[in-house]
Symmetry: C2
Subunit: 279 residues, 2 copies
DNA sequence: CGCGACGTTGACCTACCTCAATTGGCGTGG
DNA sequence: CCACGCCAATTGAGGTAGGTCAACGTCGCG
């Protein structure tokens, strides 16, 4: 498993074992749709997803609910634990879910003992923020079919980076209603979009599994650009993360994206060719 | 000015002066719509808004643009500087803008010398994240009039927390087209929503100024709940922030919100008749 | 074998978009 | 001081993406 090997590279075996032992010791199961963290509560424990998916969400008083993002196996739900503020959103199990629950003291000890681990978790937070930004772009600007396709691309690519895609397939537990809550559409309309994608040979979802025969084709309908997931940056983590904590700074290597000057019309606004100059 | 006094409480005068001197020394002007930070670039300097507004945004290849948030005077644009990754979004001037530009070395020295400052900036980042979550909720679930009203509520409340509201009025530089890019609507439709809000005596926008005669009424239209802005948490900052860096942990005091259980299968519950009209 | 959750489909409706023209404010140059 | 020109705001008419409602199919499971 490439990701596992990668982790070995990034974390000394001692840290790695300490971490995994800790996870194993605190495993905990949740039933589908039950909350791990409730908005407004002061979080007591840090949650790490071991198996299954979790979903972050917020809701309005009248019940409208928006999913902010999915937490996949191996990812941390709430590092924000340490801010000690009340949670600004809830976290629930998408389906049957196993997490490790580690309380504050232990997390603290763990992070002190495992500097590499701390860096990896920090990088995870930064990438999560980048995903939030893309999520906003999606909700605000993409049309229905792009939104759905984009979500599938994101999931598939994240799973791929973790080495959990085989034969163009990966796990995909959410129901269509949950997809709908994630992309801000109606379950009915999500169903139609999935149907359309299926007709076009873009995706197949069955038995909680996602099948993507031609990723590039799907990415094209989604206007998906994987850069925001910072895939492959983990390899550069040691250098970069050390900059976070130590001093000097070798930057990652990556071609800058185009600053495409737009088209025409009202909404798709031609924003003036802005130069990044002062004065 | 209450906010200034607050800062004095939070930061020893020495730190405070060091910080402000630093800001003053590096002032820099930008023309409306010019970029301070371009997506994909490695940020060289940290930007702090001194006067005017900045906007974070992302765009699609075809020109569709989504504003991720506004940066108000006194706020920091990109603390993420230290991650040393390429910027995942661009930042531009809403209108004529003055910022302080501080390069990495100096920021580093500053933060080492001013631990209180560092804590305040960290808290700012956390609150920014909370705002992002609310922004997602808005784009995904609120209808047009709620979205626009919610944006105005957020701005107004943030300005109020900073002590910049007088006589129910505060600065409001963005054009309707920029509002549209922020809330994911068309400029035309934003115009109509503003018109409706004006007819209902909810807001008045003129001469780059926002007037809110009855905040609660506006908040009701928007389903706005100020909690996510963490107003008043700055007062608790010393205690809380120290927990971030030191050890033990007095939590903030704040009533938990309701955790409305999920409803039926379908999406839009009959949201309360948002009567923003004649009244 | 019957219930309950999920997926699917059709008919219809409306919130929001598109296109297009007009108005008003304001800075600039004559 | 006025006329021009530009940009933002405004308004109307008509179109469509996506929502709503409601029924039916299907699968898993006790």
């Amino acid at each position: 498993m490439p990701f596992t090997e990668l982790l070995n590279t990034l974390m000394p075996p001692a840290e790695r074992m300490r971490w995994e032992a800790c996870l194993a010791r605190h495993a905990q199961d949740y039933a589908r749709n039950s909350d791990l963290v409730r908005e407004g509560a002061v979080p007591e424990k840090m949650h790490i997803v071991l198996a299954g998916w979790a979903q972050r969400y917020k809701q309005l008083e009248d019940g409208r609910r928006q999913i902010l993002g999915f937490v996949l196996p191996g990812e941390v739900c709430n590092l924000d634990l340490f801010t000690l503020m009340r949670a600004d959103h809830s976290i629930a199990a998408v389906r049957t879910l196993t997490v490790a629950e580690i309380d504050r003291d232990e997390v603290e000890r763990l992070l002190l003992d495992c500097p590499h681990l701390a860096r990896i978790l920090c990088l995870g937070e930064i990438i999560a923020k980048s995903r939030q930004h893309e999520w906003i772009l999606s909700l605000g600007q993409r049309v229905a079919i792009e939104r759905v396709a984009h979500l599938l691309c994101e999931i598939f690519e994240r799973e791929r980076l973790r080495g959990r895609v085989r034969g163009q397939r990966c796990d995909f537990p959410p129901t269509q209603a949950q997809i709908a809550e994630a992309v801000g559409l109606t379950p009915v309309h999500v169903n139609r979009m999935l149907h359309e994608l299926r007709r076009g040979q873009r995706v197949e979802i069955a038995n909680r599994r996602l099948f993507v025969p031609d990723f590039d084709a799907l990415a094209q309908v989604a206007t998906f650009d994987a850069r925001y997931l910072h895939g492959g940056e983990a390899e550069q983590l040691p250098a970069r993360a050390s900059a976070l904590f130590d001093k000097d700074a070798p930057a990652g290597v990556r071609p800058p994206p185009l600053g495409a000057p737009p088209s025409s019309s009202y909404r798709r606004r031609p924003h003036p060719p802005s130069q990044a100059q002062a004065r």
